[in-house]
Symmetry: C2
Subunit: 348 residues, 2 copies
DNA sequence: CAGAAATTGGTAATCGATTACCACACTCCC
DNA sequence: GGGAGTGTGGTAATCGATTACCAATTTCTG
């Protein structure tokens, strides 16, 4: 079916070596031969077989990527950004979803390694269960974690600076006058869930606000609605503000609160996390912390290029500071007075 | 770096042929040899090189997929569904985004062909400009179009039955009492935009409602907002209902209308299209036509398996009937009386 | 003009897994 | 016991592009 370089060489009346050299330009050939070869290649519609090239070069020009799920807009945004970065260097993306299951994740890692990808970008679904598969893969090929990571720091990581993120969110609602704040996030099975909660707790202490007991469930709209109902149940302990682990939770929470008669942001401020897609779709538009997705993707691809499996160096951890995007689900700073911020900072 | 089958054979004290046969089980070997080989493979951590296998077998076990953009939740939902289907048969997905540009699309097709994918699933970004690249690719490898397609029917296609979809949407709002209906969609550069508009016009005629001039822009939230403003501008000709080309447009439209004082659904019914993600996020939840995404993906993968490049057969076109999901942006049928529906049907 | 130096073309090995083909050993039956 | 038949192992070719190595030719220098 396919036209090979042998066909081109025969048509041009030269050897395969000359044909290869003429086409790749890696070594000089006489203009005469270059001309004949490129004409023959064009006429036959020759297209080099990337599989053969990969076998010979021991390089596929392909990067494998594994994310927990493509349904989650945050991950698709990262995938898109990574795809975009790889384009720049003419590489392709082999995409897999682990479906949030460590066993699926391990299997997908194996097939990507079998396909001899040149590198791996992964957001491990479980902070503990993903450890062996990820470390094993990292020993065989350059590997960078994005967003989520495994415990123990055995592999490079690029993500958002959760401490800075939560500090911005908490300081913002404190500046709007909030005295008590609740965190609504996910159960602590992945690194993001953990570091966002601890970032929240540190930020609350620093800002001098009262951090009420966190509500932990899933990173979903449904859990946001559920959490909203839980808050409504005992109105006595209702906080002045809620900071959420991601935007989907925040959107669900806002809807449940409004349905329950709580005015957002007048009665309660709500802050999300991610700022991909959902935030602007929401009504009112969501105040949220924007993940620096493009920067994370660029950094991950850059790191991949630096990793040398042969000489292990200390694992890098790159935390990029995010930016708070103030929209309409949080009380304006003016309302609570700039004084609140100063106080918050003062007690840190 | 890698352990080859030669290493395994040597360690087991047999020939590469025996090692290969023992591991693949394609031909009998004595239990003794089978045992020695599998033990050696396990000890060395042997993992077959998929690149070499692909070269020899002339089969990569990889399907290439090209969609206009991964940012659009509709496409990611399809990608996810296709990935899921391929899993079943142990194949992997090589994913590309054309960024809605025919030139990028053509380049990506070339690289996927060079990588010798076993098949292609594509949603061509432009009904005209995508034609040559798609037809050329279809000549070389099994190819199925999903959702969008090129004009002229030169390649298989799986998608939603836009006629049925628009009929359901129009009949629903007519049953709710609407007498005049407007279609807000995208400019006619892709097949979905075209067939949804024409489906709308046919359905309106059949239902006996007055189809006012359509508004055509982009498949985006922004265009939905813009279209809402346009409708508000001359309130005199305000329709009773609007049917949208996708959910993003619908969400934007609803927001603009409500901001302009129009009550949805009391003053105007709004129906979306797709029902992926956005619809339930919206407030109020969107009445919309649900794309049969899983079925489309399953059908596309099934078709891929049937295509034989060697003997061309007439291109298949599979249109799957969607289902209208009634939520809260459309007036309930009871309000307008079931009579409306009967009248609509009667005039068809 | 002889001989060294610089180009450039061709042959064949290489990457790793699979398998066609051959060879050998063993069983079975007349 | 010899010939047919069956089962199993090994050798080497194959997939297609690249390139190390060698050979041949041209160019340059004294």
């Amino acid at each position: 079916m396919g036209v090979t370089i042998h066909d081109v060489a025969r048509a041009a009346g030269v050897s395969v070596a000359s044909a290869s050299r003429a086409l790749s330009g890696r070594r000089k050939v006489t203009p005469e031969i270059a001309e004949r070869v490129s004409r023959a290649a064009a006429e036959l519609g020759y297209q080099p077989n990337a599989v053969a090239k990969a076998l010979r070069d021991r390089t596929t020009g392909t990067i494998g990527m594994i994310v927990p799920g493509i349904g989650n807009p945050f991950f698709t945004t990262i995938v898109e950004a990574v795809e975009h970065q790889l384009q720049e260097t003419g590489r392709d993306l082999l995409l897999c979803a682990s479906q949030y299951r460590p066993d699926v994740e391990a299997r997908r890692l194996e097939t990507l390694l079998a396909r001899r990808v040149d590198g791996l970008i992964i957001s491990p679904c479980d902070i503990e269960a993903s450890v062996p598969a990820v470390l094993n893969a990292a020993r065989r090929v350059p590997l960078v974690q994005v967003d989520r990571h495994i415990e123990g720091g055995g592999a490079d990581w690029v993500g958002v600076d959760d401490d800075s993120a939560l500090a911005q969110a908490v300081e913002h609602v404190a500046a709007g006058g909030a005295r008590s704040v609740t965190f609504v996030g996910s159960r602590l099975m992945n690194s993001s869930a953990r570091s966002r909660l601890s970032g929240f707790e540190r930020a609350a202490a620093r800002a001098g606000v009262n951090a009420t007991a966190p509500l932990l469930g899933e990173f979903t709209l449904e859990w946001g609605i559920e959490a909203g109902r839980l808050l409504l149940l005992d109105g006595a302990t209702m906080p002045d503000a809620v900071v959420c682990g991601n935007d989907e939770i925040a959107v669900g929470l806002v809807r449940a609160l409004r349905a329950g008669g709580v005015r957002v942001p007048d009665d309660m401020s709500v802050v999300g996390f991610d700022d991909v897609g959902h935030a602007t779709m929401c009504d009112p538009p969501l105040t949220t912390v924007r993940q620096p997705v493009e920067e994370m993707a660029a950094e991950a691809v850059r790191l991949l290029g630096q990793v040398r499996v042969s000489d292990p160096r200390p694992a890098q951890r790159i935390a990029i500071a995010p930016r708070l995007v103030v929209r309409e689900t949080s009380r304006p700073v003016a309302a609570g007075g700039a004084n609140g911020t100063e106080m918050g900072r003062g007690t840190a």
